[in-house]
Amino acid sequence: MSAYAGDVAALARKDLLLELRSRDTLPAMLLFVVSALTIFHFALPSGSSERAETGLLWIAIVFTALLGLTRAFAPEREQSLLDGLVLAPCDRSAIWLGKTIGVLLFLVLAEVVALPAFALFFHPLSWELVAAVALADVGIAAIGTLLAAIAAASRARELLLPLLFLPLAIPVVIGGVGASIASNPGSFLAFLALYDGVFAILSWASFEYVVTE
């Protein structure tokens, strides 16, 4: 088991190191989410409710995640490294877990900027919102990494990923928006946790079939 954890850590570290050297994903995500929030300010008529603003924040989060996910397997594809990774003497689900941790980290870093920016531009954050974002990130990263691997095998990679991802992200948005504005955020948070658990297990179990040639 510790060998498995070691593989996962090595793979995640490799992704972070690549990003540190090339710096092409995280700055793009940061810029994108701040631009999106600026656009939302002008898209909302003045006097719009806080509920509408919260809803738009969720749109920004989902699309920022999508931006990061389209790049998730880009280094492997450009250098055709995926075959090498698959042949590496480790469990294939470790590739998924390592990649998911990398994606999750980028997403959290983007939100560390985005959430204060949202609080600054719109209205202060509630702890329910932050908790919901944290839970949603896990689900988005888990399922998004698997779908990115599926999309990477197709001809229309960048085009296909949003189509595959958005229908599966609808429950995340429902849970997230509900947790942020409803009077009983607990049940929505529980739903998000359930979503994370179910889809993380499913992605973990099925990743092997997606990458094997």
Binding site: I143, L146, I150, A151, A153, S154, R155, A156, L159, L160, L163, L164, L166, P167, L168, I170, P171, I174, G175, V177, G178, I181, A182, S183, N184, S187, F188, F191, L194, Y195, V198, F199, L202, S206, Y209, V210, T212, E213
Partner: protein, 211 residues
């Protein structure tokens, strides 16, 4: 046959609904179609699971065909549900009707399944990727059902409630006959389409052999 009989019974025999009147008859069309769509998606996912489990390539076409039938019935569910909504509530689309919202999500999801198939080169990779995606679909059904349900109770006011299971027995019998007929119809479509697709596939193989 079963289907025609079921609808004849539904029209002439089943008592009219007290407050929805004649328009309630679409219930015998809409609900069986929706349940058949679920059955087709479930069947597709089962075949997908078999494909991943055994690696037998013939399950790929079976899963694809089942999902295809499911999408057709899902679209019909949206259309009949929309007509029913228009007649009952005067709106073509209402976000308060949870089953319709769920079907919209599923329809979007399974339409992406086709995008996935069309944009991946044929081969074992495509078969496995499609199978994994079909499996995600069958997990998405209860998850979105739950999501739409909790969202329905809080985000949108619950305006309309279903008539529940306490149908008069004539209605129930008609409904079950219609459901059986619809399932039989879907099964027939499935067989016909599967035969067609298999013929297509073997024809393509032959051509490749000759070329």
């Amino acid at each position: 046959m079963l289907l025609v009989g079921g609808y004849a019974l539904a029209f002439y025999w089943a008592p009219e609904d007290a407050d929805q009147g004649f328009s309630q008859k679409i219930f015998y069309l809409h609900v069986p179609i929706a349940l058949t769509a679920y059955a087709a998606f479930g069947w597709g996912a089962w075949k997908a699971l078999r494909l991943l489990w055994t690696g037998d390539r013939r399950y790929d076409l079976e899963s694809y065909t089942a999902v295809h039938i499911g999408v057709i019935f899902g679209l019909l569910t949206l259309v009949t549900g929309s007509i029913w909504a228009k007649i009952s509530w005067g709106e073509w689309w209402t976000w308060g009707e949870r089953q319709l919202v769920l079907f919209l999500i599923l329809f979007l999801f399974y339409s992406s399944y086709f995008m996935l198939r069309y944009s991946t080169e044929p081969g074992p990779r495509r078969e496995r990727n499609s199978a994994v995606y079909a499996l995600f679909g069958v997990v998405l059904i209860p998850v979105s059902f739950l999501a739409v349900r909790i969202a329905g109770t809080i985000l949108h006011p619950t305006v309309f409630t279903h008539e529940g299971a306490n149908l008069p027995w004539q209605m129930l019998v008609c409904f079950l006959i219609c459901l059986g007929g619809m399932l039989a119809l879907a099964g027939t479509f499935y067989r016909v389409e599967l035969a067609g697709k298999r013929a297509d596939a073997s024809l393509r193989e032959l051509r490749e052999l000759l070329a």
